[in-house]
Structures are given as C-alpha cells and as structure tokens.
C-alpha cells in the first residue's frame, strides 16, 4: 500500500507543481469534479476525507489530492457518489463564502470536524479514516512546501473554500445554543455600609444546556466579579483574536453616591443603568459560542461564592500594571507598519474606525436630547402649576375649569416627557454606548492580529539572520560552529512556521468574529431602535388621548 502511494507521489508532485499555476481558475475545478470516473473507491474515501480537506485547504491542495488518487488506482469508478460529494459540498460552499480560515492548520481543523456531525457528504467507511490519516502524513511535507510557494497568489480564493465548511458547522452550533440560555440580572441590593458598601446583583440563569448542573440557578455577584470575569476571559482568549465583549465602565463618582447612601433619583438611575448594562454584557458573553465553553463563564454563573477579584480595583498594583501595558501597546501599535496582504482587513478597520467616530457623535447628540427632554419635563410641571394658579384666580367659572383641566393635561404630559427621556436614554443612548465600547474591542482584535504578524515577521528576520550567519560560517570554514548554526536554523524555521500558522489562524478568527459581530450588531440595532420607536408611538397615542379629553372642556367655555 505505501509503495503504491509513494510511487505516484513523485509523479503527481511534478505534475501538480507544474499544473496549478496554469489551472487556477474554477474551470479547473470543474475538471476535477467531472473526472470522478478515474478515481477509485479509495479516492472516494479520500475525497470524503478530502472534502473536509478540500474545504479546509488551498485550491492547489485540492488539486493535489485529486491527482494522486487518480493516478494511484487506475480502477474505473462509477460516477455516482463522488460527483454527489463534490456538487453537494460545492453548493454549500457557494452559500457561505465569508469566513477566512487557516488552510495549513488542517490538523487542528480535522480534530474539530471529526467529532461534529459530518455533513451529508456521502457515506464513510472505517477504511476512510485510516487511509485518510496515512495520506495526510505523506502529503504534509509536500503540502507545506507547496503552500509556502503558492500562498501569496491564491490566498483569498482558497481560504474562501476552506472556511465555509467550518462556518456551516459553527452556525449549527450557534443556533443550538442561542435560545437555550436566558440570563437576567435583578434585585440590586446594597450590602454593607459606608465606603466598603457595594451593590450585589442577583444573576439568574435558565437553561437546558447539559453542561450546567441544573436547569435554573441563581447567584449573587458584585460589579468587581463581572470585571474579574472579563479580565480572565481577556487573558485567555484575546490573543487568539476573539472578540471579548467589554463590561460597563467603572464609575467612581456614581458608586460613591450609592455608597454614601443618597436616596435620590440620580443614584437610583445609576444603579438601574448599571444593572441593565451588566445584563447585556452577560448576554453577549454567553451568546459567543466559544466563550460559553469557557469554564470561567460557567463558574461565574453557577458557583455560589467567587473569590474577590482584586486585580480589577482601580488603584491596585494590578491596575497600574494594566495601565502600563496599555501604554506600551499603544506605542508599539504606532510603530508597527503592517504589510497588509488582505484588503478585507484594511477596509474593515477603516469602516470600524469611521463607525466608531459617528456613533460617538450620535451618542453625544442623544445625550443632549435626553437632557433637553428632562428639562422640558421639569418646565412643563412648573408651567402646569402656574396654569392651575391662573385658573383659580380666573372669575369666569367655565374658563377657570378649563384652565385647571389644562393644568392637569400638562401635568400628564410632563409624566410622558419624563418617561420618554428615560426611554431615550435606556433604549437608544445606552445602545450607542455599548457599541462604542464593542467597536473598541473589535479594534483590539485587529491589534492582536497585528501583534501576531509582528511576531511572525520578527521570527522570519531572525531566521534570515541565522541563515546569513550560517553562510558566513561556511565561507569562513568553521565546521564546529556550523552544526550549532544549522540547529538554530531548524529551530527558527519551526518557529517561523508556527507563527505563520498562528497568524493565519488569528486572521481567520478575527474575520469570523467580525462577521458575527456585524450580524449581531445589525440584529441589536434593529431590535432596540424598533423598541425605541414603539415607545415614541406610545407617547403620541397618550398625547392624543389627553388632548382629546381636553378639547370638549375648552369648547365648553362661555
């Protein structure tokens, strides 16, 4: 068997190496798909495995795998199943050509795709798996070389196919989880006294997911616990390019007022604002399929007592360290000039920055609207009282009654304005604030990707240096140091490959995350703005009711 496989490897290698540059277009693919008769049963199994590989890999690699089976087995093949496989998967592929993924990271992908339900790509035999892995080992070296050589040319097209398969599966998982986990945050209660007091929130979860111990459970958490969760998730996942939803900001002023115990409406509003923001934060965290799998998240939702997260305190050592890190990051970001291969990222970051800028402007305006409406509400109340006084001093009874009715109408309208201002705030303004923070997080993802690129470039430079050193040694003819130099070169070559793979992976993740984010953003905005408009609608209906009631009174004046 190995002989059979080994033999053709050489030939197709040259064939493939020669061919792919010529046959890069879809037409070639057509050929491939239409050539199944030449493939063997083995090839069908290979194709089956290769279907995952095909879509997890370059165009070229796809061709590569097609070729060897063809040559290997010379057995004629019925055109049944193989065709189906390709056409079927191909159509699937056409449906979702969005996410970019790491083509070379096939092995990781294989592991992922293996446990998940395989798409209806035909039947698979146990033999498939065995053959599959063997062939993989054989071709890995070939593939990696090929890949390095051809990457720059067909990057996007290849990744297009690679990821769509992955994406299909992810979608399935997402929709599974979306509706089975409901989180609500209620009952903010003040615990303790004086400056050590804090607000404890009740976090209730309702779920049918099996990874949790029970179906409904409640825990009490404080604000620093939420921040702690964010810190932990950031540490673990942000370097992989995941978009970690940011929590609401700390507010020393707001919390101090609460601690001091002022029972005024502004501190009540502050607590409500924070409660709603924390709820939205948690909902975003659990709707992220990968973050949901994180044990920290589960612990946060389930565990009775959490250790106090001290690193989140503003004036702690950890706090200062974080600030320092942020500063150095900002400086290094300015100095890194990335050689962007993929135009998608360039455009996207531009869009993100523009959008953030506009949302900030919009947010300022909505806040101004909230303030003016509050002012209007206050002035209307004052006016209502004044009209009531006027009515009482008016000696014509009908007019007097009408004026006091007017005062009542204005009073109710004041209530309406008050509610509307609150709606303006919670539904619209907070939505904008959330997304400004989230867009910042998106930019963070892009920054992580840039860092990964930098690491890779640095490794490549180092490799270059080592090679130069080796060349120098060769020329200077110092055989003793040569071995060491060769070892270093091997070491750095491996690093380069690893970092490059990481970069590809993070690029794919970032891309996927951004697309998911965009979708969620569209959904969120849609939902919230519709809710806001409905509240405006309700206000107008109430207004109509009030003025309708007043009109006959006005007409009754004689």
């Amino acid at each position: 068997m190995p002989d059979l496989l080994n033999e053709p490897v050489e030939a197709p290698k040259s064939d493939v190496l020669g061919e792919p540059p010529v046959h890069r277009d879809a037409a070639r693919q057509q050929d491939v798909f239409e050539d199944p008769p030449k493939s063997s049963s083995k090839s069908s199994s290979v194709k089956k495995a290769a279907s995952s590989e095909m879509f997890g890999d370059d165009d070229d690699d796809e061709d590569l795998f097609k070729e060897p089976p063809k040559v290997v087995t010379k057995k004629p093949q019925p055109s049944g199943p193989p065709v189906d496989v390709f056409t079927e998967v191909k159509s699937d592929v056409k449906v979702k050509p969005q996410v970019k993924d790491d083509p070379t990271d096939l092995f990781a992908e294989e592991a992922l795709t293996a446990p998940a339900p395989k798409p209806s790509a035909g039947s698979s035999s146990s033999r498939t798996n065995g053959v599959h892995s063997e062939e993989q080992d054989l071709f890995s070296e070939v593939r990696s070389n090929l890949h390095t050589a051809l990457r720059g040319i067909s990057h996007s097209v290849s990744l297009f196919f690679s990821v769509s398969f992955f994406h299909i599966k992810l979608e399935e998982e997402e929709s599974e989880d979306k509706f089975d986990l409901n989180i609500s945050i209620t009952n903010p209660e003040k615990v303790g006294d004086g400056m050590n007091a804090y607000m404890a929130y009740k976090v209730s979860t309702q779920t049918s997911l099996t990874m949790f111990r029970s179906k409904t459970f409640t825990v009490r958490r404080r604000f620093s616990d939420f921040l702690g969760l964010f810190e932990k998730l950031s540490e673990k996942h942000s370097q992989n390019g995941y978009l970690i939803p940011p929590p609401p900001e700390k507010s020393i002023l707001g919390m101090t007022k609460v601690k001091v115990g002022k029972e005024d409406p502004s501190s009540a509003e502050f607590v409500e604002r924070r409660r709603a923001a924390l709820e939205r934060y948690l909902q975003r965290v659990v709707s992220h399929p990968s973050l949901l799998q994180d044990p920290d998240v589960r612990e946060f939702l389930e565990k009775e007592e959490l250790p106090r997260a001290v690193s989140t305190q503003a004036l702690s050592g950890a706090g200062f360290l974080k600030m320092l890190n942020k500063a150095t990051d900002a400086v290094s970001k300015m100095t890194i000039k990335m050689n962007e291969q993929d135009v998608w990222f360039d455009e996207k970051i531009q869009d993100v920055e523009n959008e953030e800028q506009h949302l900030r402007k919009l947010h300022v305006m909505v806040e101004s609207l909230v303030n003016h409406r509050k002012e209007l509400s206050g002035n209307t109340a004052v006016f209502a009282k004044s009209v009531a006084m006027l009515g009482s001093s008016e000696d014509n009874t009908a007019l007097s009654r009408a004026l006091s009715q007017l005062a009542e109408v204005e009073d109710r309208i004041e209530q309406l304005h008050q509610e509307q201002a609150s709606n303006d705030f919670f539904t619209f303004s907070e939505l904008l604030a959330d997304y400004i923070r989230l867009l910042g997080a998106v930019r963070g993802c892009f920054d992580q990707r840039m860092k990964a690129w930098q690491r890779w470039q640095d490794a490549e430079n180092m490799l270059q240096k080592k090679r130069e050193a080796e060349a120098k040694l060769l020329w200077a003819n110092k055989p003793d140091k040569l071995q060491q130099a060769k070892d270093e070169i091997t070491e750095w070559e491996a690093k380069v490959t690893q970092y490059e793979r990481e970069f590809e992976r993070i690029s794919a993740t970032v891309r996927k995350e951004v697309i998911r984010f965009d979708k969620e953003k569209a959904r969120d905005f849609n939902r919230q703005v519709i809710k806001y408009l409905e509240s405006l609608l309700h206000s107008q209906q109430q207004l109509i009711k009030y003025w309708d009631a007043f009109l006959p009174e006005a007409k009754a004046i004689v």
């Binding site: 869009d351 002035n379 009408a402 703005v529 004046i557 004689v558």
Partner: protein, 405 residues
C-alpha cells in the same frame, strides 16, 4: 446676507392672530385696518398699513402708508397721555421687533461655516431662516392687533392722531426717545408705581371696582408667571426638536457610509426623525402662538386694565382731596369758589372715568374669555393634529422596518 433679506410676507397664518382679540374684522365696514405687507431691513421693519374706510374724515376710501415701530409707539403714547381717554383701557403697544437672538445665531453660523459639512450648513441656514420668518410674522401680527383694537374701539377710532397715523403719506418724523427723555420716562414710572401703591391702598366705595382691583392684581401676577413659564417650556421643546434634527443628520451620514445591512435601516430611521422633528418644531411653534402669545398679550392687557384702575383711583383720590379742601375752604370761608370749581372738575372727571371704566372692564372680561376659548380650542386641535401626524409617521416607519427584518 440675512439682514438684507426682503422677506415677502405670507399672512395666512398671521391673520389668525388678529383673532386673538376676537375682533371681527369683516363686519365693520366703516373702518378696516390691516397690515398688508412688511419689509425687514437691516435694523428696522417697515409695515405697510392698509386702510379701508367709508368714514367722511378720510380723503379716499382705501389707502396705504408705510410705518415703523416707533410710530406705533408714538400713537400709543399719545393715547396714554390724553386725559380724555383716561377712562378707557388703552390697547397695549406692540413689543419692539427683536431679531437680536436670530442675528446672533446667524453670526455664529457664518463663523462656523468652515467647520461643518455643506449639508449641515444648508440645514442650519434653513432652520435659521424659518426662525427668522416666525419672529417676523409674530411681530407683524402684534402690530396689526394693536391697530385693529384701536379701530374697533368706539372712541379711540375717532382720534385725530390715529387718522393722521393711518393717512399721512410721509414720515411722521417721530423719533425714538433720546437718552434724556428715556430717563424722564424712567423717573415718571417710578413715581407712578409709588403713587399706584398709595392709590391702591384707598378702599373703594364701589364693590365692583374693589373686586376688580383685587382680581386684576392677582390675575396680572399669575399671568406674568404663566407667561414666563410657558416661554421656558416652549424653549426646551424647541431645543429637543433641534436635537432630533441633528440626530437625523448623523444617522443619515452613518447610513450612507455603512457597508453592512444596517445602512438601509439607518437611512430609514434618519428619514423618520427628519419628519418627526419637523412636526415637533410645528408643535412648539403652535404652542408658542396659541398659548405663549395669548398669555403675553393678556399680560399686557391686564397691565393696561390695571392702569385704568389706577387712573380712576387717582381721580378718586383727587376727588376726595378736593372734597376735603372744599370743606376746609368752607370752614375757613376762604377761596370757596376756587375749591368748588376744583371739586366739580374732579367729580366730573371721576364720574366720567368710572362710567366708562366699568364698561371697559366688563368688555375686557368678555374679550378675555372669548380669546382664551378660541386659543385653547385651537391649541388642542393643533396638538391633536400633530400627534396624529406623528403617530402615522411612526406607524408607517415601524411597518417598513419590521417588514424588512
């Protein structure tokens, strides 16, 4: 620039304002006065006063003259200073046309032109123009109302100065008061208010007037309060409408620049906000017209009524003083005739004022009630109309947005 703008004037709306007084302009064919045109120049407004009359006093049946604000004030002051009219409520003079606020905003807009986009600039300019037009319409309405009230008053309409005002083709050469005169006025007012307090302290024999005195005092103060508060309320309302306008623009920009599915959404919502804010601005403008202006007008009229009561009170005090002087003279048997004539004069004056004052105050009440009724009904109707308009807009927009998703 705007200050040289010749705003040709649409008086559909402003005609309505003449009815603040419930003065029926059509039935009295003997004398009809209106302002048919107005021109806004750099720092003054020129009103074209148009008269239609069948009275023999006038040379023609229909004629027009151009008058400025100062000439209206002159006319009003001539009424106030005329002793003959002491027993009447003198229609309050129209307030000075005040475009300062608008002009300031225009200046700021001009300065900030470089920092905003072309669309924003045009939008703000349009807003400012609309505001300017609204203020302009209002000031024309106030001037017209004054003239109509005078024309409707059975005695004042016969005043010679009024006829000169209406007919004299050329400039009346009425200059604004210079500093010295303004200072004199100021002192006169101080003296008057001090006197007013004294006079008001004198208890009146007549119940009707006593009641009116207390009523008017309280009413006037409360109307003043309501007027100020309604102004503030309407200003907040306008600010909120302005905010919605700016939000609409930003949403529009977001919509045009966004590359995801959200762009259509943003554009639709921006469009909605544009329309609702126009309605909100109309609501604020209508509240201004029907409520704030009404209160402001009755603030001034109640002041004029108070002035009438003051004059009567003054005449009463003079009469009582003359009586006392007469008694004293009779007691001392010195200058009795003089005292008697003085007393006679005072008595006549007092009685004349009392008689007409009573009627005037009753008329004032009727007018007031009718004006409030009309304006409150119109206010309610307009609020309903606008709320329904808003409702419809929101419903159709929501329908589209929900249908899309």
């Amino acid at each position: 620039m705007m200050s040289n703008l010749d705003i040709n004037f649409f008086f559909e709306d402003f005609r309505l304002n003449a009815y603040i007084l419930n003065v029926d302009l059509q039935t009295d064919a003997t004398l009809q006065v209106d302002i048919s045109d107005a021109l806004s120049e750099r720092d003054k407004v020129k009103f074209t006063v148009h008269t239609k009359s069948t009275l023999p006093n006038f040379k023609q049946n229909e004629f027009s003259v151009v008058r400025q604000h100062e000439e209206f004030i002159w006319l009003h002051d001539s009424f106030v200073e005329n002793e003959e009219y002491a027993g009447y409520i003198i229609p309050p003079s129209p307030p000075r046309p005040d475009f300062d606020a608008s002009r300031e905003k225009l200046q700021k807009l001009g300065e900030g032109e470089g920092s905003m986009t072309k669309e924003e600039f045009t939008k703000m300019k349009q807003e400012l123009e609309a505001e300017y037009l609204a203020i302009f319409k209002k000031t024309v309405a106030m001037h017209e109302v004054f003239l109509c009230r005078v024309a409707a008053h059975p005695v004042l309409r016969k005043d010679l100065n009024f006829h000169v005002f209406l007919e004299y083709n050329q400039d009346l050469s009425v200059r604004g008061k210079n500093k010295k005169e303004k200072l004199e006025d100021f002192f006169k007012n101080v003296v008057k208010s001090a006197d007013g307090v004294l006079v008001a302290g004198v208890k009146d024999v007549d119940d009707f007037f006593e009641h009116e005195k207390t009523f008017l005092l309280e009413y006037h103060n409360r109307v003043k309060d309501s007027s100020a508060k309604s102004d503030r309320m309407i200003r907040s309302h306008k600010s909120a409408a302005d905010d919605i306008n700016r939000i609409a623009s930003t949403l529009y920009t977001l919509g045009t620049q966004d590359s995801t599915d959200l762009c259509k959404f943003f554009l639709k919502v921006s469009e909605l906000f544009e329309k609702t804010r126009k309605i909100e601005a109309r609501v604020a403008a209508d509240e201004d017209l029907k409520l704030a202006d009404l209160l402001k007008y009755y603030l001034r009229e109640s002041q004029a009524a108070k002035d009438l009561l003051y004059r009567r009170g003054r005449a009463l005090v003079d009469y009582e003083n003359a009586n006392k002087a007469l008694d004293k003279a009779r007691a001392k048997n010195k200058d009795v005739l003089q005292a008697e004539t003085t007393q006679q004069v005072c008595c006549q004056k007092f009685e004349k004022i009392s008689e007409s004052a009573k009627q005037e105050l009753i008329d004032f009440k009727t007018r007031r009630v009718a004006a409030f009724r009309k304006n409150l009904v119109e206010l309610a109707e307009l609020e309903l109309k606008h709320a329904k308009g808003n409702l419809q807009l929101l419903q159709s927009c929501l329908g589209v947005l929900k249908g899309d998703t």
